[in-house]
């Protein structure tokens, strides 16, 4: 089955469910629509090869939390308030504010060039003139690659910046574990100030890159595996890495260091354990609130 079609199907289900939750005038219907929306979201998780999260979503969220909510609806259902009337004025206001929110999010989140961001983090946001020239004059460079390189990069507009002792990409490279692996071929921070300032190249903010283009660019700079390959294996099977992370190990970060963990990569043993304490506290709190005050019969 076509992956894209599947995505659009789930996305449509999710969004339709969410909108229906907002529009519904009846609490029980809202709950049912919520199931639809969250189920759709679970589908999206599967689609994103996050199978364990998807399963958890179905089990805990759709299966547990929503059932809880429906219980709440049933236990508190008193005729007149089961249906909630929203006045048209309120409805329009809410729709307007909602639309505004969507626009704000559109104008920020959705206009970002995420691939460019990733390249920047990997230290490819600004490359030294040497590295750029080397890539541009590589043997067997296709015409499309050359165009890509020329369009993706432009000589650094802020010459003074490149000349600073600590270039922007410096610290990011050093701290990015993925980039650190491929340090050999990546531009060294030192390169930048060895060439004239104006001859550093940085990503062209006017040119948005697709995933494929980003991958190609990274490849041109010799960084295939480290950066652009998706952080998660595309075929799924995230259960084992997740379980290991909960046990405090991070095989996804560095398989060679399973036993001598790198101190910088968080394992999630602490939150895993501490959430259990939290759940215990919540259980006791909820039980206290839900039970009627018992009167202890004194022996006397």
């Amino acid at each position: 089955m076509n992956g894209a079609a599947l995505f659009w199907f789930f996305a449509a289900v999710t969004c339709a469910g969410a909108v229906a939750v907002v529009v519904s005038q009846n609490v029980v219907r809202m709950a049912v629509w919520l199931i639809v929306a969250l189920g759709g979201a679970a589908g999206l998780f599967f689609q994103l090869s996050a199978d364990f999260v998807g399963a958890t979503q179905l089990l805990i969220y759709v299966g547990g939390t929503i059932v809880l909510l429906i219980f709440g609806v049933m236990l508190t259902a008193s005729g007149p308030y089961l249906r909630i009337k929203t006045s048209p004025g309120e409805g329009f206001l809410a729709a307007g504010v909602g639309l505004l929110f969507v626009l704000v999010l559109m104008s920020t989140v959705l206009t970002i060039d995420w691939n460019a961001g990733r390249l920047k983090l990997a230290g490819l946001g600004k490359v030294s003139a040497d590295a750029y020239e080397t890539a541009l004059h590589k043997e067997g460079l296709s015409e499309s690659d050359r165009t890509l390189l020329e369009q993706a990069y432009q000589p650094s507009a802020k010459a003074d910046h490149a000349a600073e002792p600590a270039p922007k990409s410096g610290p990011a490279v050093a701290e990015n574990p993925e980039a650190a692996d491929s340090h050999g071929s990546a531009p060294k921070p030192g390169d930048v100030h060895s060439v004239p300032a104006a001859l550093a190249y940085e990503l062209n903010p006017g040119r948005r890159l697709t995933s494929a283009e980003a991958a190609r660019l990274a490849a041109l700079f010799g960084q295939e595996k480290a950066v652009v390959a998706s952080a998660m294996p595309a075929q799924g099977d995230t259960i084992r890495p997740l379980g290991l992370a909960l046990a405090g190990l991070r095989p996804d970060r560095d398989l060679n260091k399973v036993h001598a963990k790198a101190a910088t990569t968080p394992g999630y043993l602490l939150p895993f354990e501490i959430v259990s304490v939290h759940l215990l506290v919540v259980l006791i709190g909820a039980a206290y609130l839900a039970r009627t005050k018992r009167r202890r019969v004194e022996a006397s």
Binding site: F7, L38, L44, G72, P266
Partner: protein, 103 residues
């Protein structure tokens, strides 16, 4: 999966988030508001999982979403207990009906 990339997922997340916010703002029924919260949390979760697939956030994103699911369940449990309590005292769960605290 041509044509489907990070932005598309983020769009779904944004829709969930905005619907949740609108739901919280408009519903008078306390449980309805809580459903809005669930939508918001799911919007964030879709983001997390999408980021974990497409950016170097990696496993951290999925991990985060797992914790969010668990914490949301805990929150819902307490919220419902409080809602029941409120209902027992007031015979309604209309948030605007609680009028004893004002000023």
């Amino acid at each position: 999966m041509a044509g489907v990339d990070l932005t598309a997922y983020l769009l779904v997340g944004a829709v969930l988030f905005v619907c949740g916010i609108v739901c919280m703002a408009t519903k008078r029924n306390g449980i309805g508001v809580l459903m809005g919260v669930e939508l918001v949390l799911n919007g964030a979760n879709v983001n997390f999982v999408a980021f974990s697939r497409y950016t170097s956030l990696g496993l951290d994103g999925q991990m985060m979403s797992l914790f969010v699911i668990v914490l949301a369940a805990a929150e819902a449990a307490i919220a419902l207990a409080i809602a029941l309590n409120f209902y027992n005292n007031h015979q309604t769960i209309d948030v605007d009906r609680g009028s004893e605290l004002q000023g």
